[in-house]
């Protein structure tokens, strides 16, 4: 079979996790890049990725990627459009807060270790997913989108009013620290992600340690998602997505599989929510709003619906977008202040003082033009529309096209 990587002689080898040697080597190199090169600042020209704030940002990417994988299973595989992801994330976050959080005068908290609250966050969210499923399974398409939208609003009301659990509206609560203890023992925790220290003889900052922990979790969740996708359950989901009546005729139980998709997706969302809350440290109940759900849908669509690679690409892109826009605006602002040849052009886009009248304003407070945050939102919407109209397969589609071009290079047909 040498030289014919796409010739498979058994279903097992075709359905393997990484069927070809190119993929095996590629994934191995990617893992080395993510786990070793980035944290140790060994990437030439991109050493800054291993510094504090970028490590934090990449940790956030890993967290959101876990949530996006969950939505991928529900929307990408089973084809059920859900706007309720934020609700399940909130459930996970507050489960983590109750089980692992510090006890306060007005707050519930049991101070249990991470290996209790992290799985519990997922399980509670999954259970609620199963409870919601009977309503969600009965309705289809756009009706489902609105039912899940309703979940987000009901969830926000619930979180705001459960003051003992969530800290209440506009004040929020602190979440458990990110550390690994066996069972409430005193002193130094077994693994501490909140202070600098040496692992295996290498000195690592707290951000790098947190990043490594999150990236390992992401790898585990990605492998599980890939295994779901390539086995019986995933094929059942995809058959429901493509033609639900035909799937039912072939013996794929519609309601059961949709409920299962909801449960798995909610588990991922719960874990993602718990990690996000712990990572940020303090969240208000209003944080789990519709926009959060929309962000996850955006990751799926920008990355490319229905593929794990696309989902991960989308998570990276959408999470890094605000930071890139911010840096870009700052760069434009500096250009406008300076006297280079691009200064007039940059000045039109960015307003650096009050009577400037640019599109974006770098000034704090009210001023003409959009703030950076608002510009971010607008750009976000524009990107979504552009991707959907011109590249429905998303970043993954672009990658496929580049790959196919080079596969047959120099013959372009």
């Amino acid at each position: 079979m040498r030289g014919r990587p796409h010739l498979f002689v058994s279903y097992d080898s075709e359905q393997a996790l990484l069927p070809t040697w190119t993929q095996r080597v590629g994934v191995f190199l990617l893992l080395v890049f993510l786990v070793v090169l980035i944290p140790l600042q060994l990437v030439p020209g991109f050493g800054f990725l291993g510094e504090g704030d970028w490590m934090t940002l990449l940790g956030l990417v890993a967290i959101f990627a876990i949530g996006a994988l969950g939505l991928h299973i529900l929307s990408g595989l089973a084809g059920q459009v859900s706007l309720g992801h934020a609700f399940f994330m909130g459930l996970g976050a507050y489960t983590a807060a109750v089980l692992g959080g510090p006890t306060g005068a007005s707050l519930f908290g049991m101070g249990l270790p991470i290996w209790v609250w992290l799985p519990a966050a997922g399980i509670v969210a999954a259970l609620v997913g199963v409870i919601v499923a009977p309503t969600a399974v009965r309705v289809r398409g756009i009706y489902l989108a609105i039912v899940t939208l309703g979940l987000v609003f009901i969830g926000e009301w619930l979180f705001i009013n459960l003051g003992r659990v969530t800290g209440g509206s506009q004040s929020g609560r602190r979440f458990p620290p990110l550390e690994f203890r066996l069972w409430g023992e005193e002193g130094e925790p077994l693994l501490d992600f909140n202070s600098d220290g040496a692992w295996f003889g290498v000195h690592l900052s707290s951000e790098v340690k947190t990043y490594l922990f999150l990236i390992v979790l992401l790898i585990v969740f990605a492998i599980v998602a890939k295994n779901i996708q390539r086995t019986r359950v995933g094929r059942a989901f995809m058959s429901i997505r493509d033609r639900d009546v035909a799937a039912e005729v072939m013996g794929v139980a519609d309601a059961k599989n949709k409920a299962l998709a909801f449960a798995i997706s909610s588990f991922y969302a719960g874990v993602c929510g718990a990690l996000w809350a712990v990572f940020i440290g303090r969240l208000i109940p209003e944080g789990f709003n519709l926009f959060l759900s929309v962000q996850f849908l955006a990751m799926l669509l920008i990355g490319g619906l229905g593929t794990i690679t696309g989902t991960l690409l989308g998570a990276v892109f959408v999470t890094l977008l605000p930071r890139i826009v911010q840096d870009f605006t700052r760069l434009l602002g500096d250009t406008a202040e300076g006297s280079g040849i691009f200064a007039p052009l940059a000045d039109v886009i960015v307003s650096t003082n009050l009577d400037d009248g640019g599109l974006i304003s770098t000034l704090p407070g009210t001023s003409p033009g959009l703030t950076i945050f608002q510009f971010n939102l607008v750009l976000y919407g524009v990107l979504l529309i552009v991707f959907l109209i011109f590249e429905p397969l998303g970043l993954y589609g672009i990658w496929i096209r580049i790959r196919n071009y080079w596969k047959s290079w120099p013959f372009t047909y």
Binding site: I142, L149, V294, G369, L377, L384
Partner: protein, 328 residues
């Protein structure tokens, strides 16, 4: 709702009075929801797109009205011989026209290329539109709230058992006027073409109907209805008589109205709007006090969603929606 709360403290009305007040107020709120729901259903029926940007368009309409009335005083400044009410209505009409134009542009630029694409993608487009329009509108509105300067102000009329704000009467009148206009529109040549397209797109095109134009017209009317709803949702008893960034979220509560009535039923949307409006006001008026304190704050806002879920459990296509026939 706020009005009811104030009145309840002043002279503690009898149970019948309270019920009458709540009903009148609920009908007014329901009229706004019905307007928004009607626009949503019109767009959905014609183009099979649920417009999540409806709230943003409503907020844009309200902002434009405030801009024309208060900031520019246009066209009132050239027509100062007209009574104030007339001037206000003209400014409002300009705002509605401009919003309809925005609806047209949006449809041509973003919805037209997506015809035939999967539902998921088109829904995401309208969500993206919502983000863009809402952000820009909020930036235009700024930090301060903008008054719409309605000619009726905070006046209240007292009709025996019912006490109702003048703006609420205006809301109901305008809503029913709009319903009548839509009904008349359906009898015109274009209206018949739209109904035909909604019924069977291919057959309509075979008869020589330009479906693309029908889509655009549906969006124009939908955006205009959104603007009317947005303007009246920013008048006196609601949101302090000004447009704020919450106006866009107000329209999300028209979604349960659409679903309760059935996504493709116009009369269902109007009925659903009144059901949601009445339910919200009744919940705000009666589910208060110590007995109901476990419901916490904001229950009347999410209550329509609970009704929606109950309705969907019984009838998955809404009260008047046509059930989808599934064939193998």
């Amino acid at each position: 709702m706020e009005l009811i709360a104030v009145l309840a403290q002043v002279d503690a009305p009898s149970a019948a009075d309270k019920f009458a007040d709540a009903t009148a107020s609920g009908l007014a709120l329901g009229a706004i929801y019905a307007l928004l729901a009607l626009g949503l259903v019109l767009i959905y029926k014609a183009t099979q797109v649920l417009n999540f940007a409806h709230g943003a368009l409503a907020a844009l309409g309200a902002y434009l009205a405030a801009y024309f009335v208060v900031t520019l005083n246009f066209p009132g400044r050239y027509l100062d011989f007209l009574p104030l009410t007339m001037q206000w209505i003209l400014s409002g009409l300009f705002a509605i026209l401009l919003t309809a134009a925005v609806g047209y542009i949006v449809e041509r630029l973003t919805i037209q290329p997506m015809i035939g694409e999967p539902l998921f993608a088109v829904v995401m487009i309208t969500i993206a539109l919502d983000i863009i329009i809402r952000t820009v509108t909020n930036d235009l509105i700024g930090q301060a709230t903008r008054s719409l300067g309605s000619p009726w102000g905070t006046d209240v009329v007292d009709w025996g058992p019912v006490t109702i704000a003048k703006t609420e009467i205006a809301t109901i009148v305008v809503a029913f006027l709009s319903f009548g206009l839509i009904a008349l529109f359906f009898r015109t040549r274009i209206g018949v073409a739209m109904r035909a397209t909604a019924f069977d797109q291919e057959a309509a095109m075979a008869q020589g109907i330009n479906a693309g134009r029908i889509f655009a017209i549906a969006w124009v009317i939908g955006a205009a209805l959104a603007a009317v709803g947005g303007i009246f949702s920013s008048l006196f008893p609601r949101s302090g008589g000004a447009t704020v960034d919450a106006t866009a979220f107000f329209a999300f509560r028209a979604l349960p109205a659409v679903i309760i009535g059935g996504l493709d039923s116009i009369s269902g949307a109007v009925l659903g709007g009144f059901i949601v409006g009445l339910a919200e006001v009744y919940a705000g008026a009666y589910l208060i006090g110590d007995t109901w304190s476990f419901l916490g704050v904001g229950f009347s806002r999410i209550w329509p969603y609970l009704i929606m879920m109950i309705v969907l459990l019984v009838r998955p296509y809404g009260l008047f929606g046509t059930e989808e026939v599934r064939r193998v």
